[in-house]
Amino acid sequence: MGLQYRAAALAGIVTQFAWGFLEILMFRAFYRADASAFPMDFSALSSYIWLQQSFLALFAAWMMENDIMDSIVTGNISYELCRPISIYNMWYTRSIANRLARAFLRCFPILAVAVFIPNPYGIAAPASLLHFLLFLITLILGLAVTVSFCMLIYVLAFFTVSAQGLRIVFTSVVEFFTGGLIPLPFFPEKMQRVMELLPFASMQNVALRIYSGSMGGYEMKKAVIIQVFWLVAVTAAGKLLCHVAEKRIVVQGG
């Protein structure tokens, strides 16, 4: 799907690359100002940013499925309700598939270039094989949590008149708390401890930090358990709300 628009694909990759590059330059300036105050290894930070850009499509909360939003806003949703499958599961699979496809197209060029950028600005090798395996697992878990959360928003859009407004409020909050603007370790310590318990930290934060070994063994275990917890909780909440919404639509006749 993405391939058909060569310019779009290329532009996306170049944009993300430039974005990551500037971000690293910004952190470098702070690193130079006071290296002792830097909460991660600089190379770990670089890896974090390159991975973040590579897998943007997996975690970006603002990349919502426009089709789904539109069908809710325009009321076309009634057609989908007529199909004999769970609307929640259908949308869920579609979101996961779309995000994976988009990320798959974009991650390799960015990773390939980032590998050749000299240390400490490029992407480093994973801390160990174990870290790498855990990275893959938490990447998938993080994707699942993100999609569950987006699903919650789609379903909430049933109940509001402004899907667009809801989306922008939600997106800005997620970006901030998930470590999209600055990684979680850069927040003040107390705040960071609370943030790590929130569902947002279970999105990109865990995988990106595990990769370069900036989490200890105990922390990693805890993070994975929290991820699983939120995945179950958010999905359950979404399904429940979806059920309520479906009932409401049937009663109101769309």
Partner: protein, 265 residues
């Protein structure tokens, strides 16, 4: 003169009709405003936390960076509010609504600007103004005449440059509707990274933002003058020099319109 007056009247009319449209969806409007506010507020918070950890960056203190951040945000939101009609321009070209503009006896740019006046950006604007006032008070700069003039110039220069970038974005739509994402780095990216003085990104970026897209002319250099790092009075007027950037943007637009007329896509 008469023509100018009628243009201004028309533009105000456009704004008023846009506002009336938006007021049809009040709750949506307020949610959008809140969202816009939050977007830039979280960016500010991130910067705040960075300075809690590091006391300065490339010698610039928190209050100086705050001033820099707030002027950029103000520039951007001013440009965005008025020139955001260009942002949804791809929709206009694809839907054929640009044809309608061409069969009306008014300038194309005026009509595109009028077609969408984004009042929801008032959320960002509000944020920008608050930050700006806070930044001015916290900066520790004694605000004499030349200081005030410098900051006014910075706002003018920045607004013009960002508007020019939006215009370039729209002009590209005449040729291709793919690959526009690339422009984001120069608009949203510049707003995002422009919160810090451009010099912190290294020499190459400084050169690029001086001679290619003149961000530094309305940001870094006048900031040097404002914070007393340089006494060179020339730096004060550099933001006005940044306005040259609107010329190639307008040329590209004209070229784009001509292309549209010959290809009819």
């Amino acid at each position: 003169m008469n023509k100018k007056k009628s243009s201004i009247k028309l533009y105000i009319h456009y704004i008023s009709i846009n506002i009336r449209c938006m007021m049809q969806y009040k709750s949506s409007f307020f949610l959008n405003v809140t969202g816009q506010f939050l977007v830039s507020f979280t960016v500010f918070l991130s910067m705040f936390f960075m300075f809690k950890r590091f006391s300065s960056v490339e010698g610039f203190t928190y209050s100086e960076v705050l001033l820099c951040f707030s002027t950029i945000l103000l520039d951007f939101s001013l440009a965005e509010m008025f020139a955001r009609g260009f942002d949804s321009f791809s929709v206009m070209v694809r839907g054929g609504d640009f044809d309608r503009i061409l069969v009306r006896p008014r300038g194309e740019i005026m009509q595109v600007l009028g077609s969408k006046f984004e009042l929801t950006r008032i959320g960002r604007m509000l944020q920008a103004i608050m930050m700006f006032i806070y930044g001015i008070m916290a900066s520790g700069i004694t605000w004499n005449f030349s200081g005030i003039l410098t900051i006014v110039f910075m706002i003018i220069g920045g607004t013009v440059v960002f508007s020019a970038l939006f215009l370039i974005y729209a002009s590209i739509c005449f040729f291709t509707l793919d690959g526009l994402e690339f422009m984001n780095i120069f608009t949203d990216g510049a707003k995002e990274f422009g919160q810090y003085p451009t010099a912190i990104y290294g020499k190459k970026i400084l050169l690029f933002t001086t001679f290619v897209i003149p961000y530094s002319l309305f940001q870094y250099y006048p900031l040097l003058f404002l914070t007393g790092r340089s006494g060179n009075i020339l730096l004060m007027f550099l933001p006005l020099g940044a306005c040259w950037f609107i010329i190639p943007a307008l040329m590209l637009w004209k070229f784009g319109v001509r292309h549209y007329k010959s290809s009819g896509s």
